[in-house]
């Protein structure tokens, strides 16, 4: 397995024999069973659906694609890969996560999930450090897994869009297969975003996520809400 991955992905000596174990650990952390509670947050998608901005499979795929390339997905991936650097300061990156949050609920979802993630690791007996925003917490914890930052970012982004797509297909509603098609179809964008993220820092991370950010703000005053954000 390890040999195979080296051949296909051109991985060099930076990969340790820990890779397979590391991959198992990471997919556990990012799976829906890990007690982070991602299903409770929609990142404004609930408002976009209520306003009929996202009403079908194509619109949902486009919304998620945009969030990956030029919105919260890219920002999270940059925070995560920055947190994986050996000399990274999690507290400073957490300041950036807060500063870059355009609204209260955007900060709420990344902070609450980061706290839950950190608490879960501590409950399992490790010392994950002080609570920080989710991508910073995941990046910090993934430092010792023997995985490349873009691998970790890609798996993180896939978990993010899978969570959002799963919530959205129930809410619009769309068939389950549509959700699976969307997640699979976003794979190239996920890989592109992860590859782009490793070339950036929080200071050089630019977005153009105006519609999604406005929807997340409008969610705060939406009368009927199922999701927390």
């Amino acid at each position: 397995m390890t040999t195979h991955m080296i051949t296909i992905m051109g991985i060099t000596t930076t990969i340790t024999p820990m890779t397979d174990a590391g991959l198992l650990t990471l997919t556990h952390w990012l799976s829906p069973v890990f007690p982070v509670g991602g299903y409770a947050y929609s990142a404004g998608l609930e408002t976009a659906i209520a306003d009929a901005l996202v009403a079908d499979e194509e619109a949902l795929a486009d919304w998620l694609d945009h969030s990956l390339a030029a919105g919260a997905g890219l920002t999270d991936a940059v925070l995560l890969t920055s947190a994986m650097e050996a000399d990274a300061d999690a507290a400073t990156l957490n300041d950036w996560a807060r500063a870059l949050s355009p609204s209260a609920e955007r900060w709420q979802e990344t902070w609450e999930q980061g706290q839950a993630f950190t608490r879960a690791l501590a409950d399992m007996g490790s010392d994950p450090g002080v609570p920080v925003a989710l991508p910073v917490a995941v990046g910090r914890a993934a430092r010792d897994l023997g995985l490349r930052p873009e691998q970790v970012a890609a798996l993180y982004l896939q978990a993010m869009v899978a969570n959002l797509a799963t919530g959205a297909v129930r809410h619009i509603p769309l068939g389950q297969t549509a959700g699976q098609r969307i997640i699979a179809g976003l794979a190239p964008r996920i890989l592109d975003t992860a590859a782009h993220a490793v070339t950036l820092t929080p200071e050089t991370c630019f977005t153009a996520s105006f519609g999604a950010e406005l929807a997340a703000m409008r969610h705060e005053t939406q009368e009927t809400r199922i999701f927390r954000t």
């Binding site: 919105g71 153009a208 105006f210």
Partner: protein, 270 residues
């Protein structure tokens, strides 16, 4: 020498710096090149500072620096004289740097007029703000894509805008970093992106009372379409997007008046 590209003769440079002391009196003024700073007499409690680019617009290679320092306990309202226009330029981007500081307990309202980006323009702008303990800051940025009324449609663009606010210790407390390029414009109707908008406004208010202001601010915005507000951790933000900068400004003015205790820059033609 005659072979030098013509555009190099047109490049504009300008630096303007203003410092206000604790009583609101002018303690520093520096102007160079095509940048000017004016301090019109006002009868209100807040001195006004108006920055101006006398070259009439921005093209590739232009460099401008504007800065305003407000001492602890003082206050100022700052604006730009006119809308800043970034014109088509074949070679490179214009660079504009805005540096603002408000000392401990100071008040600084930064309400520049809109930035109009024409087709094939390039602008790289950084607005960096430093706030002392208990300072009150209001910043508004309005970006307009061309002039739709004049039938212009912006297709090619290279715009990066960084707006960063730090505390006195250098800790980042607010950051907005947007990029508008040709790819974004090609997908200008995408709902998560521009959603068809050609005018984008973003306001941030950072102050000890930011959280208390959200209810009145939401009431002031009313049900204006394309507008929303949020507040948390000593920050209040308002976003607005639409197609008409005049409509957007009109929608925002009641909320701005609320946050500035009814002050608007006199250069705003309201």
């Amino acid at each position: 020498m005659f072979d030098a590209p013509f555009s190099s003769y047109q490049r504009s440079r300008g630096r303007a710096r203003v410092a206000l002391g604790a009583t609101g009196a002018l303690t520093g003024l520096f102007q160079q090149g095509s940048a000017k700073a004016m301090l019109p007499r006002t009868h209100g409690p807040l001195p006004e500072v108006v920055f101006l680019n006398t070259s009439g617009g921005l093209t590739g290679g232009d460099r401008f620096q504007f800065s305003l320092d407000v001492a602890a306990g003082a206050g100022a309202m700052a604006a730009t004289q006119t809308a800043e226009r970034a014109y088509a330029s074949p070679d490179g981007v214009a660079e504009v740097s805005v540096s603002l500081s408000a000392g401990e307990g100071a008040t600084l309202f930064w309400l520049p007029q809109e930035t109009i980006l024409f087709d094939r323009s390039g602008l790289d702008r950084r607005t960096e703000v430093t706030l002392g303990e208990g300072a009150r800051y209001l910043g508004l940025e309005t970006v307009v894509l061309g002039r739709e009324a004049m039938g212009e449609r912006v297709e090619t663009l290279d715009f990066q805008d960084v707006r960063v606010v730090r505390d006195a210790a250098g800790r980042v407390i607010h950051a907005e970093q947007i990029a508008l390029g040709s790819g974004t414009l090609a997908g200008r109707d995408r709902a998560a992106g521009l959603a068809g908008a050609s005018v984008l406004a973003s306001l941030v208010y950072i102050a000890p009372d930011a959280g208390d202001r959200i209810g009145p601010v939401r009431a002031a915005l009313g049900d204006a379409p394309g507008c929303a507000a949020s507040a948390w951790d000593g920050r209040l933000t308002i976003r607005a997007m639409g197609r008409d900068s005049w409509d957007l400004r009109r929608a925002l003015i009641p909320a701005i008046r609320l946050l500035t205790n009814d002050h608007l820059p006199r250069v705003w033609q309201t």
